[in-house]
């Protein structure tokens, strides 16, 4: 038990030194970190938002909106498929009410063929052979297509993958440092931006789906019907966008546009802030090859007519086409400010969000509060450490001193492990530290009390120390397992600050067993071997 070969001693010292060295970069001021090349390459732990200050946003995908989009897409597909195939199948009375897509097949003889064709529009999901849409016949004349649960889940998954990337791109464009963007659950994205004090710009940027369309205005539409929101055949109706100052951009009320023949923003390759002849901010966009051709044809065929620029289902403006635009470059106008034009440019550049995102949780911490918390936390930890160290030394003498050395090393090792894992230190995490200082010595208290007890029972020094470590180790192991159970639960179910606390707690439990048991046993063994004391004070 007390027999420590040299290689084992070297291993223990090397391991602990490694842990301590890993902790050092995180504790240096940033300027120093940058100056020493080795240090700048080493891993560091992060500071949570409650310590660094910044903004935290939790975004949730609007799945109802996504289901609506899927339904619309499927409607387009069905129309095209039935018309394009041979023989052409005549369908009518298409309805998307109630989350299903249903349509009427005019010729009953074609019903089976129609079902066949509708089936070709569905895809297998996963490995269970389930399909993303179920096709059924109702009343022998109507075909009903219902999205399956698995199909919706897959659509959500796909949309969230893209959405996370789009969010990342948009935030990167803001030029903030080290933002955290992670998926949470099936339909959430967590965004944390250290140092950002006013999340308003970020929110409005993330709130834009940036679905851009160019569509021809239907100049023949009946103004009364359009105002009432009734779309003429082949048209769509969109309201004018709010300009944020109580008025509307570009016009009032609704605008009717041709459903087909437009160009979508998907064909953009670049968008940036620019100024028009009146020195008003506009967004200048560039189309890719096919977009350029389509835009050229649209403008050539419709000179003198107005076309609408529609963003997120709202009309930004509806300027008249003065001349054909052949170079694939256009300007989006519509009473922008410099900021709002820049925001739109970023949103367009980063691609459209496949699903609308809503902010469901928002937290902002000022930099002053974070600094105060770090200072208070550091002072409290230092005082706690000193108090515990004095108390341990007064109670257990030399053995308390060994325990103290173990505790101090343990603090650094925890920080080192956090650095390797890239863990985040939060304010409750600092509390976790203070608690770890308290509980880490518990192991040594158990050991030392046991040694005292065995001495009282009349055992020799060596025997007492050996038994003390052996008997206490079992208890320490069991106590730590239960403690770790509550830590794991916190890590699984806790959010934000609670997680930060759990991380420190769990790492602390693991490292403290090593420092408080193995390391102190080594120190005691070395001392006993060299000093051969005839009596121990414990």
């Amino acid at each position: 038990m007390l027999d420590f070969p040299r290689w084992k001693i070297l291993w223990i010292i090397a391991l602990l030194t490694f842990g301590v060295v890993l902790a050092l970069p995180s504790l240096m001021p940033e300027a120093t970190q940058a100056r020493i090349p080795v240090v700048s390459l080493m891993p560091r732990f992060n500071l949570g938002l409650d310590l660094s200050g910044g903004s935290h946003l939790l975004l949730e995908a609007d799945t109802a909106d996504l289901a609506r989009q899927e339904l619309q897409k499927k409607e387009e597909e069905v129309r095209t498929e039935m018309r394009r195939g041979t023989p052409q199948i005549d369908i009518g009375d298409i309805s998307t009410a109630g989350g299903d897509l249903s349509f009427f097949v005019r010729d009953v003889a074609q019903l089976d063929a129609a079902v066949e064709r509708a089936r070709t529009l569905t895809n297998a999901v996963g490995v269970t052979g389930q399909r993303d849409w179920n096709v059924a016949v109702v009343d022998s004349t109507r075909i009903v297509m219902t999205p399956s649960k698995a199909g919706l889940a897959k659509a959500t998954e796909d949309a969230m993958k893209v959405a996370t990337e789009v969010v990342r791109k948009r935030i990167d464009e803001l030029g903030t440092r080290e933002p955290t963007i992670v998926r949470e659950g099936s339909q959430r994205i967590l965004v944390q931006v250290p140092g950002l004090q006013n999340p308003e710009a970020l929110k409005s940027l993330l709130g834009k789906t940036a679905k851009l369309d160019f569509k021809l205005v239907d100049v023949d539409a009946d103004p009364a019907a359009v105002a009432a929101g009734r779309a003429p055949v082949g048209d769509q109706i969109f309201p004018f966008a709010n300009d944020g100052r109580g008025g509307n951009r570009g016009g009032t009320g609704n605008l009717a546009v041709k459903r087909l023949g437009g160009i979508s923003g998907d064909e953009l390759i670049d968008a940036k802030l620019a100024y028009d002849q009146q020195n008003q901010p506009v967004v200048s966009i560039n189309f890719n090859g096919s977009g350029t051709r389509k835009f050229a044809r649209l403008t050539q065929e419709n000179v003198g007519k107005p076309f609408a620029m529609i963003l997120d289902n709202q009309v930004l403006s509806a300027p008249r086409i003065n001349e054909p635009i052949l170079g694939g470059q256009a300007q989006i106008s519509g009473s922008f400010t410099v900021d709002s034009a820049n925001e739109l440019a970023i949103a367009l550049r980063s691609g459209k969000l496949p699903v609308a995102l809503k902010v469901i949780e928002e937290r902002t911490v000022g930099p002053q509060l974070g600094q105060d918390s770090i200072r208070a936390g550091t002072i409290a930890s230092a005082i706690a450490a000193v108090a515990v160290i004095v108390f341990m030394f007064v109670t257990y003498g030399r053995f308390g001193g060994y325990a103290n050395l173990a505790v101090v090393i343990n603090i650094f090792v925890i920080l080192g492990v956090m650095a390797i894992l890239g863990a985040t230190l939060t304010l409750p995490g600092i509390a976790g530290f203070v608690l770890t200082i308290g509980t880490a010595v518990d192991a040594n208290v158990l050991i030392n009390e046991r040694i005292r007890e065995e001495r009282r029972r009349g055992r020799s020094i060596i025997q007492s120390v050996e038994l003390g470590y052996k008997e206490a180790s079992r208890t320490i192991f069991e106590a730590n397992v239960t403690h770790a159970i509550s830590g794991v639960v916190m890590l699984m179910l806790g959010s934000g600050p609670v997680k930060g606390f759990a991380v420190v707690l769990l790492i602390g439990i693991a490292t403290s067993v090593f420092t408080a048991v193995t390391f102190t046993r080594m120190l005691v063994a070395i001392w006993l071997r060299h000093a051969r004391p005839s009596e121990i004070h414990i």
Binding site: T364, G366, A384, G438, R457, H483, L493, P497, A502
Partner: protein
């Protein structure tokens, strides 16, 4: 050098004989805690009820009524104010605006900040939280599930590792600790937020730690002293581990005390809860879980147990020998 000994050698306190008094007190306190929580309720923070919270630090401690008046004039809903620490810091809670517009909450926060800034120059806004009802419902559900899951998992561990009686007694003792903590929050009206869930889980963890140490000793003594009366055996085990119990509780209280005094405002409720938990947990280790073992009939079968190991004939020695 004379070392400090908090608990004299061979202390022998008759804990077990006091157990019916202790059970009575425990039952009374637990019921009182439940009643308190039921009647007074808990002061849930925005984490758990949803809404908007702004933390403002004033240069001078402000009149709360004046601050309330200032905010009421904005007609943004009923504000609830709370001062903490040096009284300079006030947390202002407001209901969420009835608007789906992304900018609505920010507009509201800005309005409050501008209005307060005009009346109190030099005020600093440290923190702003907005939590929607959906998220707060989940947070509170996760919090409750976490505490229950931790308690059950630990009780199961006690059952597998020891005997079922240990699992049950530990579970009851932790339940008592959690109820005490909730009662404490009902009395003090300290805000219950996410951090408090962490505090409660830590109390559960600590309390368990304490009980395992005593349980472990009881198990060891059950094997060692096969003829000893169970009352005496539990008294012996508790007394043997008493120096450790006192020592560990004190070191943790020392560490937490420093955090309470110097750790800043944000962690104060968290630390207070944990200090209470340490005291309550220590009490319940001795009086609830250990004494309950007798009632549950631990050690009834031990004469037919597997034979004890070489440690079985270790005798108890009184008086320190040199």
């Amino acid at each position: 050098m004379r070392l400090l000994k908090l608990v004299p050698d061979n202390t022998n306190i008759g804990f077990v004989s006091l157990r019916y008094w202790a059970f009575g007190l425990t039952a009374f306190l637990s019921l009182a805690a439940v009643a308190l929580v039921g009647v007074r309720g808990l002061n849930f923070g925005v984490d758990f009820v949803g809404g908007l919270m702004i933390e403002a630090k004033f240069e001078q401690p402000p009149e709360l009524d004046a601050v309330r008046h200032n905010i009421d004039a904005l007609h943004v809903g009923e504000a609830s104010l709370q001062q903490f620490g040096s009284k300079n810091t006030v947390s202002i809670r407001l209901p969420l605006p009835h608007s789906t517009d992304e900018g609505a909450t920010n507009t509201l926060i800005r309005k409050v900040q501008a209005s307060l800034g005009a009346q109190y120059p030099g005020v600093v806004f440290n923190k702003a939280d907005t939590v929607s009802g959906k998220v707060s419902d989940e947070l509170i559900r996760n919090g409750i599930v976490a505490v229950i899951l931790a308690m059950v998992a630990i009780a199961l561990f006690g059952w597998f590792r020891f005997e079922w009686q240990f699992g049950v007694s530990t579970f009851v003792a932790i339940l008592h600790d959690v109820l005490m903590t909730l009662g404490f929050f009902a009395i003090t009206r300290l805000e219950v937020d996410l951090n408090i869930v962490a505090a409660v889980l830590t109390i559960v963890g600590y309390s368990i730690n304490d009980k395992i140490v005593i349980d472990d000793r009881i198990r060891e003594n059950l094997r060692k002293y096969r003829q000893m009366d169970i009352h005496a055996l539990i008294d012996l085990s508790v007394n043997e581990t008493l120096p450790r119990t006192v020592m560990t509780s004190l070191t943790i209280l020392l560490a937490l005390g420093s955090l309470l005094i110097f750790g800043g405002e944000v962690l104060r409720g968290f630390t207070a809860a944990m200090m209470l938990g340490v005291v309550v947990g220590t009490y319940s280790s001795i009086y609830v879980s250990s004494s309950l073992l007798i009632t549950l009939g631990i050690g009834a079968r031990r004469t037919v147990d597997t034979p004890a190991g070489p440690r079985g004939n270790a005798e108890r020695v009184s008086g320190p020998r040199v």
